[in-house]
Amino acid sequence: MPILTVNKLTKSFGGLMAVSNVSMELKKGELVGLIGPNGAGKTTVFNLLTGIYQPTSGTVTLHRDKKEEQLQGLKPYTICKKGIARTFQNIRLFKDLTVLDNVRIAMNKNVKYGLFSTFFHTRSYSDEEKEMLDKCMQLLKILKLDHKKDELAKNLPYGEQRHLEILRALATNPCILLLDEPAAGMNPAETAQLTEMIGWIRENFDLTILLIEHDMSLVMKICERIYVLDYGMVIAEGTPSEIKSNKRVIEAYLGEEMGNA
């Protein structure tokens, strides 16, 4: 059963086709990899899916609760509310805010109390704030960040910043999670830990995950299916073993890497 259908998605900047005619499908509960050489347009696809860029043409359809919704042309915050959350390639945490606030901000979209309660701190304010705090602490405990809740995000070690960013995305209560190079800059031990964690959150949060990653060992190990992007186009799609033996992929991407090595 598909949860997200991407149909002929295209984005051009001026004359440059950053993404052209990309069609993809994510099935519910799947963990799909999106790989390709540098500049292939992977992050642009993420930016299109999350509304940061508007597609030149093509559609993105979310199938949720037996409904179909068109996501192209919507604002990022609306898409987030529909259930797509993401992390960023170059970590975009709220650096000068605490770990706790980073997570709490991601829960803002569920807040029901209005401006009156905000200004006068009424009962509904304190009830909801308390509930939110509890939820945040639960989330923070999962990644063992609870004892660091009052630390500023920028003071966390690099690996924990990556974790916090994933946690912040989870706090928006998504059904689809887009991870943009979560293992970038990590050592093998950290990558192994991250691999395990991604699998764990998928099970426990009932998520569908789309993952951009350069670390092939990670991608091959955890992804059920892989899309390969080159020059903004999908050049291959299949299981890890299929991708490994796909000639075009080897030419475009793996070959280049092997050649360099």
Binding site: F13, T43, N47, I52, Y53, F88
Partner: protein, 294 residues
């Protein structure tokens, strides 16, 4: 029709002054992305230097013009060195606040020394007092002087920016500061030079406005400074021809509003133009849209 042409002449004269100030704004913005709020005050200093040259030292107009350009150039470079250079890597808001600080400092510092009362410029003599008629349209010698000096300075500026080594460096730094540095361009020197040129032009505008309007005061830089900034935004901030077009446009609009509407509204119209441009096309007449990289 004649009245209209007369207004056009007046508008171009006023626009010349705005254009000269706007050039400084636009060049500085182009190179360090800063709205140099102190720029209007450099223009005010230019007017005062001209005043003292002509009254206390009894110099003629052209020597006074050169001296005030020189003093303003030095002032501009000094401001950059003291206030903006330590903030090269600070946030843009921090630098903008600094610029406002410098502006207050110069305005009220000047007021402290020369007193807040307006002073009147010494009358010009000889040829400068004459006016010329074509049909019923009157050109005053001052207007001709303003327009021709502005044109000469603009041609000179275009030559410097397009043909000289330092001009190329300016363009390189404004395109990509890091890359320019890697190519061996001294970014600090280039920025200083940009302030030097921009401030010299503002100095020229200061003395020209002195002989045109006859009255100067320590806060005179505020309004024309803001309007010249509007002119720069109108043309597309960071773009030199844009500032020239914008300057003349704002000058004409102001004169037309005063001439055919109500002179009380000319400031309001200029700011309304600003807000409309910012909303409709923030990159200005000649500007290109840019996008943030995610």
């Amino acid at each position: 029709m004649e009245q209209f042409l007369q207004q056009v002449i007046n508008g171009i004269s006023l626009g010349s002054i705005y254009a000269l100030i706007a050039l400084g704004y636009t060049m500085v913005y182009g190179i360090i992305k800063l709205i140099n709020f102190a720029h209007g005050d450099v223009y005010m200093i230019g007017a005062y230097v001209g005043y003292f040259c002509m009254t206390s030292f009894k110099l003629g107009f052209f020597p006074s013009l050169l001296i005030s350009m020189l003093v303003c150039a030095i002032l501009g470079v000094t401001i950059e060195k003291i206030a903006y250079k330590p903030l090269r890597n600070a946030t843009r808001i921090a630098v903008l606040i600094t610029a406002i600080g410098v502006s207050l400092f110069i305005e009220y510092g000047t007021m402290f020394f020369v007193k807040p009362d307006p002073r009147s410029y010494p009358p010009l003599t000889g040829l400068m007092t004459r006016s010329f008629r074509i049909g019923n349209i009157v050109f005053s010698a001052q207007q001709i002087l303003i327009i021709s000096i502005t044109v000469v300075l603009m041609v000179l500026l275009q030559f410097i920016v397009k043909k000289t080594r330092i001009g190329k460096a300016m363009r390189a730094v404004s395109l990509d500061r890091d890359a320019a540095q890697l190519m061996g361009i001294s970014v600090d020197k280039t920025i200083s030079f940009t302030f030097l040129i921009g401030s010299a032009l503002a100095g020229a505008a200061g003395i020209l406005v002195g002989i045109y309007y006859n009255s100067i005061n320590p806060l005179m830089g505020m309004m024309p400074g803001l309007k010249a900034f509007v002119a720069a935004v109108f043309g597309g901030i960071g773009i030199i021809p844009g500032a020239m077009i914008g300057g003349y446009f704002i000058g004409l609009v102001e004169v037309m509003v005063a001439g055919y509407g109500n002179s009380m509204f000319r400031d309001a119209v200029v700011f309304a133009i600003l807000i409309i441009i910012l909303i409709v096309k923030p990159s200005g007449l000649l500007g290109k849209e840019t996008r943030e990289k995610v």
